[in-house]
């Protein structure tokens, strides 16, 4: 019997509220399949299962809030027969107790676990938009389910006040979650910071040439070149890519870049763009666009929330010159990009005007020193001078090479 547990969807998550099951007992499930939707303080996340099998018993019902690690359901391994006596009943009783004991500083208020009516996905979405607490509505749908009409009627009763962005309590929960993760980072991680000015003329000219020939749907943003360059530079300095756990650094071979995405209405998430080093730029662009869209719509997957190996933040669109980031534990580094702007520069002894961008590194002194950080930033700078090598690198990166 496989126990399907609530995964940690980021360092700032202590518990989650089960919103919805996509499967029922008896359904066959495949590794990587989204089987449930769980609400964290940041977003509703599609939770994937990592084993093949057949769903056996659902132990946590929609509406229940449980701590990370709680068994949500049991799954029969392929070929396994269902046990005669169903033990899980006991576990159901345990979960709310565990939730009540849990009271970390970032813990969202745990509501007493009672059976609540199901809320249809469209109703939930609309409720979020309208600032209505769908969970406490009287549902008129099948088996008391809260429907879209119920939500809209409730909003009308509230005077039709349409919330902008996220409802207030949601924003507070996100603020608390970010505060807990960043507080832990600043307490535990001895940060050091480096910065390097990067000439961007080559990269921008290359992008302009490339994009000029393509329809708007296939154009690439400079942010994609930055992501790719970071992933390639990490090949040279792998000590910045991975996790610090149990007093030791655990390097990760693949680069899963946590992309900091600000949410409309406040707060941010940094879900992973997977395997950046080995994917071509076109694919990275498509996946980045999709990731931003899903992050803002609140439909991220559990693997995206839990496995970024480094975070990349770009505040350049806001016109900020430099950003020194706070490392997201258990990661060990964060790369920040500021705006690309034309500024004075010296080339061959001559003063000239050039588009420049400041890249920064915040890194964990328990794992690396400034010397390695400097090697990384200069490698990043050099890679951005050769955009062709970034475009072609996906073909050879698997063998550890960085250029043809």
């Amino acid at each position: 019997m496989i126990e399907f547990k609530l995964p940690s969807l980021g360092a700032d998550m202590e518990e989650g509220k089960l919103l919805e099951w996509h499967v029922k007992p008896g359904d066959a499930v495949k590794r990587g399949q989204v089987v449930a939707v769980v609400d964290t303080s940041k977003a509703a996340v599609d939770v994937e299962i990592w084993e093949d099998g057949v769903m056996h018993a659902i132990l946590v019902q929609p509406g229940e809030t449980v701590p990370v690690g709680t068994v949500l359901a049991t799954v029969l391994a392929p070929g396994e027969a269902a046990p005669v006596v169903s033990a899980p009943v006991a576990v159901v009783a345990v979960a709310p107790v565990a939730a009540a004991i849990k009271a970390g500083p970032s813990a969202v208020v745990v509501s007493p676990v009672t059976r609540r009516p199901a809320v249809s996905p469209s109703a939930r979405r609309r409720a979020k938009e309208l600032g209505v607490d769908a969970e406490n509505l009287h549902g008129t749908g099948a088996q008391g389910a809260v429907t879209l009409a119920d939500v809209e009627a409730a909003a009308a009763r509230q005077g039709g006040a349409v919330a902008q962005g996220l409802p207030i309590d949601r924003q507070q929960a996100m603020r608390r979650a970010i505060a807990a993760a960043m507080g832990r980072s600043k307490r535990e991680i001895p940060h050091y910071y480096l910065s390097e000015t990067i000439p961007m003329a080559n990269a921008l000219a290359w992008l302009q040439r490339r994009n000029a020939e393509l329809p708007i749907t296939e154009r690439i943003l400079p942010a994609v070149l930055q992501l790719k360059a970071v992933a390639m530079a990490l090949k040279r300095v792998p000590q910045l890519n991975g996790f610090y756990r149990d007093d030791a650094f655990q390097p990760v071979a693949a680069v899963h870049a946590g992309v900091a995405i600000s949410l409309r209405g406040g707060g941010l998430v940094a879900p992973a763009l997977h395997d950046v080093a080995v994917k071509p730029l076109e694919q990275l662009m498509r996946e980045l666009a999709d990731l931003v869209k899903r992050a803002r719509a609140g439909s991220l997957r559990s693997s995206e929330m839990s496995d970024p190996t480094i975070t990349i933040t770009n505040l350049g669109d806001q016109g900020v010159e430099t950003v020194f980031g706070v490392i997201y534990p258990p990661q060990v580094a964060l790369v920040g990009f500021g705006s690309v702007a034309v500024r004075p520069w010296v080339e061959g002894g001559e003063l000239c005007a050039r588009p420049l961008m400041i890249a920064t590194l915040a890194a964990d002194h328990r794992v690396t020193d400034g010397h390695l950080g400097a090697v990384f930033l200069t490698e990043l700078r050099d890679l951005l001078q050769q955009p062709d090598s970034l475009a072609s690198s996906s073909a050879v990166s698997g063998q550890g090479g960085k250029e043809k």
Partner: protein, 83 residues
């Protein structure tokens, strides 16, 4: 396609609101810089232009992005290219 300017502007604003749902459409100033009024990052901006491209079947060259500052600029640009 024959579309008057008012209808065209309404469609453009509708697409913009799909990208930035917190927008109050009636508070937009059509003559002012759009990105000074609306929080749009480069991904939002690209998605907005893609949605214009899809709705009106007008291709927008990357070299023209800099001309599209206000909503009026965008509607002028589309009008000139809609037959």
């Amino acid at each position: 396609m024959n579309m008057d300017r008012h209808t065209l502007m309404a469609s453009v604003v509708e697409l913009l609101c799909a990208i930035a749902p917190e927008l109050e459409a009636n508070e937009l100033n059509y003559a002012r810089s759009l990105r000074q009024q609306v929080d749009l990052d480069s991904m939002d901006w690209l998605n907005f232009l893609v949605s214009l491209h899809e709705r009106f079947a007008v291709s927008i060259a990357e070299s023209d992005y800099a001309r599209l500052v206000s909503l009026n600029d965008i509607v002028d640009y589309l009008e000139a290219r809609l037959v």
